[in-house]
């Protein structure tokens, strides 16, 4: 589903991703871990089409198509969904309008009819119930004044409504209380299917107890320095990142390597 080859990206001339290789097949769940500042969010945002980062090398194929030239909205319509590490507040734009605009666009792209007002509300309310979210949040401005946990649930709500093929969840588990983590994990698991793939960026084993990954990767200094099965996450939890030789190698600036 997703083939990333030697992906390099920089911001203001400063290299951040320094050659990422990653292959994700339909049905798989990949966890990406790694120290702060290693480039996890950058990778997630580059995949979603953020132009703050200049892609300086490598390729990204999604369902056999080179997505690097595509605008963020085209990627979203093709089924790529990014749950933001820091969901953005948008005063004056209500949550329900955003959901409707997003769903209309995506359905239109898939050749499906727009939902009428009743169908739309019924769908949203059902998904909100799943996420145990207060319906008031629908009519408030997008993420404005939402608590940290409400913002994260709102991301998963959007995902549940839009039903993407490739979901990239950037630290969706951070800042959630224990109950909320279970609810969010349930939301994620509900979407797992042989047709879908997921990339979970996380710092903690906690989420991976609920959403068990097929693969775990460690990103350090803009490179994947170790990949393994779900046991790798447990090992990281115990030992931290220091023991990974590759992590040190990657930590050296590329030009000196």
């Amino acid at each position: 589903m997703l083939e990333i080859r030697n992906l390099q990206a920089s911001v203001d001339g400063k290299p951040i991703l320094r050659g990422i290789d990653l292959s994700v097949k339909a049905g798989e769940v990949h966890a990406i871990m790694g120290p702060n500042g290693s480039g996890k969010s950058t990778l997630a945002q580059v995949l979603a089409g953020r132009d703050t980062f200049a892609v300086t090398g490598g390729t990204v194929f999604y369902q056999g198509v080179d997505i690097l030239p595509m605008a963020p909205e085209e990627r979203a319509r093709e089924g790529i969904f990014l749950a933001f590490q820091y969901p953005v507040e948008i005063p004056g734009v209500s949550n329900v309008y955003l959901l409707k605009a997003a769903l209309n666009n995506i359905r239109q792209h898939r050749g499906q009819a727009e939902l009428d007002a009743m169908e739309f509300l019924a769908l949203i309310k059902q998904k909100m119930k799943q996420m145990e979210m207060n319906e008031d949040l629908l009519y408030r401005a997008v993420n404005e004044g939402f608590s940290g946990g409400e913002k994260k649930r709102n991301e998963i709500l959007q995902m549940a409504v839009l039903e993407p093929k490739l979901a990239i969840l950037d630290e969706t588990d951070s800042g959630l209380d224990i109950d909320a983590l279970q609810i969010v994990a349930k939301g994620i698991n509900a979407l797992r299917s042989p047709q879908r793939a997921m990339i979970l960026v996380t710092h903690y084993q906690r989420l991976l107890d609920y959403v068990v990954p097929d693969f775990v990767h460690v990103l350090a200094q803009g490179k994947i320095v170790r990949s393994g099965g779900k046991e790798l996450a447990l090992e990281l939890e115990e030992r931290g990142y220091g023991w990974l030789e590759g992590a040190e190698a990657a930590a050296r600036p590329a030009e000196n390597a």
């Binding site: 909205e73 979203a76 948008i90 005063p91 605009a101 997003a102 995506i106 839009l162």
Partner: protein, 444 residues
């Protein structure tokens, strides 16, 4: 011929056709205003009050006082059909090329004690009570003097003590293609609310895009003790028009004024909006929105005179600038000696949609009392990249994402309108101006 000679000649030519020609005090007022104009001429950009707004283009046009004969009434009538607030929703007075048009007006039934007429008519029939409101005031701009020289008509609303007019008074000023071309149209309005009276007035200017003309309007408002007046202005002049207007209020004890001004049309707009608190406990709200593009220029000068204690003023102006447009906001707040416990808050936020648009925003606080609370804030910004990316990452096109954010920004001012028919009119205009606006409207 220079501007002064031109104006003198124009006055000599048109004076006899102006209403109230036989009223001595009015003739004196016109003459003293003419003297003020002749003494100073049009302002240039060395004048601090006109630093960012050049009126050289107005001077060059050498507009002549409107003749009020060429207007196309059929076209005006169809505009009235489009623009009236709706059956039963308000008291409509229509002015075509500056003159009251009774056949298009629908004044409806006003409560006893509410007197609504055209000022031209009042000059002819009962000018005595008006003198105090028509003296030339050199605190007002030179355009106000010019208005006094040439004013031909406008609305007069008088509310006796305690009278409450429930429905809005809608003053519709239509500039027609032929009637307005090359003309200076000088509407003059007077709103007088006696003690405890209440009303809402909408001043609405529309024009056609054909030829240049100048609307030079002046509205004076007097709010007696505990009166409450709400004033809306909607400016949709033609694309080549010039629009200069003053709205000047005086407030007595415990009175409330709410002003809301929206600028959409004209190539050059200058609004001077002011209120003066003459007794304790007054309250004023000045809201404004300007949505401009192309080569439009809009200048909003506001002034609040806190001349007495326990006064409260709120100002909230927002602008959206596209193309090569330019905006000026100058918000003067004067807290006079002794005006203790004054509370004044001012905000001006601007959204620049293009690199070539420009805004000069300047708060001007002059405070001569010590026990006061005055705040102000001005911002100038572009659309937020994080917000745009977030929306696009949800499948929303860039065009629609931009429109959603612009709409959210402007809507904050539109939603302050309390007359539902006017508010929905403006929302409609907003949607029609935004790319993909109809799709945004459909989300509601």
């Amino acid at each position: 011929m220079n501007a002064r000679e031109h104006t003198l000649a124009d006055y000599a030519r048109s004076a006899v056709t102006l209403p109230g020609a036989g009223v001595p005090w009015l003739a004196r007022a016109r003459r003293s205003a003419l003297e003020r104009f002749v003494a100073s001429g049009y302002p240039d950009t060395h004048d601090e009050e006109w630093k960012y707004t050049s009126v050289a283009a107005i001077e060059k046009q050498a507009f002549r006082a409107a003749s009020h004969r060429d207007g196309d009434l059929a076209a005006a009538a169809s505009l009235v059909d489009q623009l009236a607030l709706g059956p039963g929703a308000g008291h409509l007075l229509v002015f075509v090329d500056g003159r009251h048009c009774p056949s298009l007006s629908v004044p409806g039934r006003l409560p006893a004690g509410a007197h609504m007429t055209s000022i031209g008519e009042e000059f002819e029939t009962a000018p005595e009570s008006l003198e105090a409101y028509f003296a030339d005031d050199d605190q007002e701009t030179i355009f106000a003097a010019l208005n006094t020289v040439f004013m031909a008509d406008g609305a007069y609303l008088h509310l006796a003590r305690g009278v409450v007019v429930e429905q809005p008074v809608h003053l519709l000023f239509i500039a027609t293609q032929d009637g307005a071309a090359g003309a200076i149209i000088s509407p003059r309005n007077l709103i007088v609310a006696e003690e405890g009276a209440q009303a809402t007035v909408i001043e609405h200017y529309v024009g056609t895009d054909g030829a240049p003309y100048l609307t030079n309007a002046l509205t004076r408002i007097s709010a007696a003790a505990n009166a409450s007046l709400t004033h809306y202005k909607l400016q949709q002049e033609g694309a080549q028009a010039f629009h200069v207007a003053g709205i000047h209020a005086r407030q007595a004890q415990g009175s409330r004024l709410s002003s809301h001004s929206t600028t959409l049309g004209a190539v050059l707009t200058r609004n001077d909006i002011s209120t003066a608190f003459t007794a304790p406990g007054c309250e004023a709200t000045l809201d404004g929105l300007y949505l401009v593009g192309g080569r439009q220029h809009v200048d909003n000068h506001t002034r609040i005179d806190h001349g007495a204690p326990h006064g409260t003023s709120h100002e909230f102006y927002r602008g959206v600038l596209d193309g090569r447009s330019r905006a000026v906001f100058n918000g003067k707040v004067l807290v006079h000696p002794g005006a203790q416990k004054t509370n004044a808050h001012q905000a001006n936020h601007n959204l620049l949609l293009s690199r070539d648009a420009e805004i000069d925003s300047k708060p001007q606080l002059e405070i001569y009392a010590d026990d006061v609370k005055c705040t102000h804030g001005a911002t100038i910004g572009q659309l937020d990249d994080n917000q745009l990316f977030y929306l696009r990452a949800r499948g929303v096109s860039e065009t629609m994402a931009r429109s959603l954010l612009v709409h959210a920004f402007a809507h904050d001012v539109v939603e302050r309108i309390r007359v539902a028919a006017l508010r929905s009119r403006l929302e409609q205009i907003l949607f029609s101006r935004l790319p993909q606006g109809e799709r945004i409207r459909a989300l509601a």
